[in-house]
Structure formats: structure tokens, C-alpha cells
Subunit: 232 residues, 2 copies
């Protein structure tokens, strides 16, 4: 019944002004807060993956009881939402403001996006299923503004944004999930070679052995941008 907490702000003061504690910093070991919960959830997700995030385990890491989390957070889903958005923050680099080279700006932002997600491989597969948090919207807004300034017509703008979104999401999810060990990849190609009568072309191009993901992302992005706004 109680209204509890709601938004994601709750900036300052977990405990009013200052606790009458001895040490210079209060026992953050025992004080729960939304920020600490989200930060710890990210740690746990990094360490154990999506399936490794259990409320009990999260509480253990925080040194609290499992049910204490529910004062700060509605349910486990919200933990995912918050962890995801917290990982997608974008700090626009100084040189990028009012840059002349719109293409470079976009590539930079999208490569940073991808890199952020690959640093937290659980985030990519979560992204499409979650609400659009503020950090995501900031990136979309930046994308939109830059493309618009680059001459993409209003009629094509949404298509262009979604195309780039699709490309980044697809590339990153795939990359994050297809990261076999070398053994796995060799085995896959082995299996493929055995069936090379069925799949001769992808066998010949060694599609499944190619692991230059960064290069493929960069090149593919160039192709897509060529299509969206042909260099003249």
C-alpha cells in the first residue's frame, strides 16, 4: 500500500543531513541506496551474466537482507532497467560539439555505444526488451540532430535512425553472444566443412572463422552511411 519510492532520481541524502558517526564517511557498508544497488547489480551482471543476477545474491553483495532491496526497487525487472540505462551514459567529447565532420561524430558515438555494451555483454541482449531510459534517448536525440544537420530529409530521418539503431543492436548482440572460444569456432567451422556440400559459399569465405568484429562493424557502418547519405 505504501507509496514507497518511485522515480530514478532520489539524488542526495540517503539519511537526512549527516549521521553522527565517528569516521569521516558513514558506514556505507550497511546503508542501502538506489545508486549502490544499481552499481552492485552491474558488478554482479558483469561477473555472472544475466542469469547470475538473483535478488538474494545481490543482497549478499550489499551486505543486506534480500527483502530490503524491495524498499528501493519495485521488482527485479526494475533492477534490469536501471542497470541497463546506467551503462549507456554518453559523455560527448569536447571536440565533437559543433564539429564539421558529422560522419565522424556519428561513427564515434555509435562505436562508443557498441563499446559500452561490449564492456557489459549482458546489456546488449537486454536493450531491446526494456524501456527507453534517458541515456538512450540522449543518444537517439544526438543521432537525429546530427543526421538532420547532415542533410537527411525529414521524410528519411526516422528510417535512418532506426537503420543505424538496428545495425548497432544487431552487431552488438551478435558479437556479445557469438563469442565462442577458438575451439568452439574451430568446431563450428569443422562441422561446416563436413557439410561443405550444403554450404559451399560460406564455407569458402570462412564466415564463421572471421573474428575481426571491430573491423566488420566499422566497415559495415561505413556502407550503411554511404547508403543513407551518399558522399558527393
Amino acid at each position: 500500500m505504501a507509496a514507497k519510492r518511485s522515480g530514478a532520481e532520489s539524488k542526495g541524502s540517503g539519511r537526512k543531513g549527516a549521521p553522527p558517526q565517528s569516521g569521516q564517511e558513514q558506514r556505507s557498508e550497511t546503508t542501502l541506496s538506489l545508486e549502490r544497488i544499481v552499481a552492485t547489480a552491474v558488478e554482479l551482471l558483469d561477473a555472472e551474466g544475466v542469469d547470475g543476477l538473483k535478488m538474494r545474491r545481490l543482497a549478499d553483495r550489499l551486505g543486506s537482507g534480500a527483502m530490503s532491496l524491495y524498499w528501493h526497487v519495485d521488482n527485479k525487472e526494475k533492477v534490469f532497467d536501471l542497470a541497463l540505462d546506467s551503462v549507456l551514459e554518453y559523455r560527448v567529447p569536447p571536440g565533437l560539439v559543433a564539429s564539421e565532420d558529422w560522419r565522424r561524430d556519428i561513427v564515434h558515438m555509435l562505436e562508443d555505444w557498441r563499446a559500452s555494451m561490449l564492456r557489459h555483454p549482458w546489456s546488449a541482449s537486454l536493450l531491446p526488451r526494456r524501456a527507453l531510459g534517458p541515456n538512450i534517448l540522449i543518444r537517439l536525440e544526438l543521432l537525429s540532430k546530427t543526421l538532420s544537420g547532415a542533410g537527411v530529409t525529414d521524410a528519411d530521418l526516422n528510417v535512418a535512425i532506426w537503420s543505424l539503431w538496428n545495425f548497432v543492436i544487431g552487431a552488438t548482440i551478435t558479437r556479445a553472444n557469438f563469442e565462442f572460444s577458438d575451439d568452439d569456432r574451430a568446431a563450428a567451422q569443422q562441422r561446416l566443412t563436413g557439410l561443405s556440400e550444403h554450404y559451399p559459399t560460406i564455407e569458402r569465405s570462412r564466415l564463421l572463422l572471421d573474428n575481426d568484429w571491430d573491423g566488420a562493424f566499422r566497415k559495415g557502418l561505413d556502407f550503411l552511411l554511404d547508403g543513407l547519405a551518399p558522399r558527393r
Copy 2:
């Protein structure tokens, strides 16, 4: 200990030759088989989504005990694998063999791919996390062969395939998950309008209200293909 069953073939005969039953068709109501399990899993997934697939519920639909499934299937993960690949079969249309218009062929196959997944919205988000089944490989092979025949150089081939893959995966996952009700979408745009000082451009282009997904897919695909193999 027992070896049980392994592969995904197990084509004919669930029960030797022919059962000495009276009716023309045996009591398929009570006979379990891999095919029936997979088909029913797809039904259940369609009806209840990824989280709705529980082994007990699946067994209920099959009129069997929950543990009986484990004779035919290693574990729940395998059920997902099989359900996914079963949904991605591609029947190459007759006119497409030795077609002159490679671009049309690719668009057809990819639109069919997307449509197949949207018919089973759970499949899109599953795809990147699962092993590449035969039906997926068939599509990749076709893609590869067509692009190669269209003049894409070997050096660019893998990049082109992954770019198209990324685009299809990203578009479909997004489409499948962002399918709000009209109310949801209105609410999202409402929230955005309230914050229009922060996101003026995407607010203006009504990015979140645009629901011409099919058109956006088609147009974006065209842009990408333009980039990959410029029409001369």
C-alpha cells in the same frame, strides 16, 4: 547414463513399423515424439511468450507427464533451440532460382525472414543467443551466394553478410519488443513531449509515434543495399 536420443533428425517411426491399433491413425494424443514436442512448444510460445514456456505446461498440452519430455530432449534449452530453428525454414520460391534480379531475391528472402520471426515474436530475441541451426545456415548460404554473384568482392563478402544479418536481427527484435499498444506509444510520446526541451529533434520527427515498421524496414534495407553494392 543411458545414451538417450541425441540429434534433431529422428525422422520416421516413433514406434517401429505400424502399431496394431484399430483406427487408421494411432493414438497420437498419447504418443510423444520430438516433432510433436517442438510443434507444441511453438504453439505455447506463440500463446504465452518466452516466459510462458514451462516444462509442466508443455507436458500438459501434450497430455503427458512433465518428466516424459526429458526422454526426448536433454533440457529446456534444447527445446528453445529446436523451436527456433523449426520456425526459420525457408522455401525458396520457384521464380527465384537463377533469377536475374539479385536485389529482389535478397529483399524477398530477408523480408520473409523477418515475417517468419514476427509471426513468432519470441523467436527474434532468441536467435542471437542460440546455435546456428541448419535452417539459419541455409539462409546465410543463399545470401552469400547471391551477393557473391552480384559482384561483391570476397574481401567485402563477410562484412556484407553480417551487415544484413545485423539489420534484420536488429529490426526484428526491436519491432517484436516495441509493439506497444497505441496507448503505450501515446504515453511514451507524451512523456517525451513533456521533456521536449531535452529531446527536441526526436520529438519533432515523432520518432516514437512512427509505426510504419514495414516501410521503414524496406527503405532501410534499400539504403543498406545501396551502400553495399551501389547501383551503377
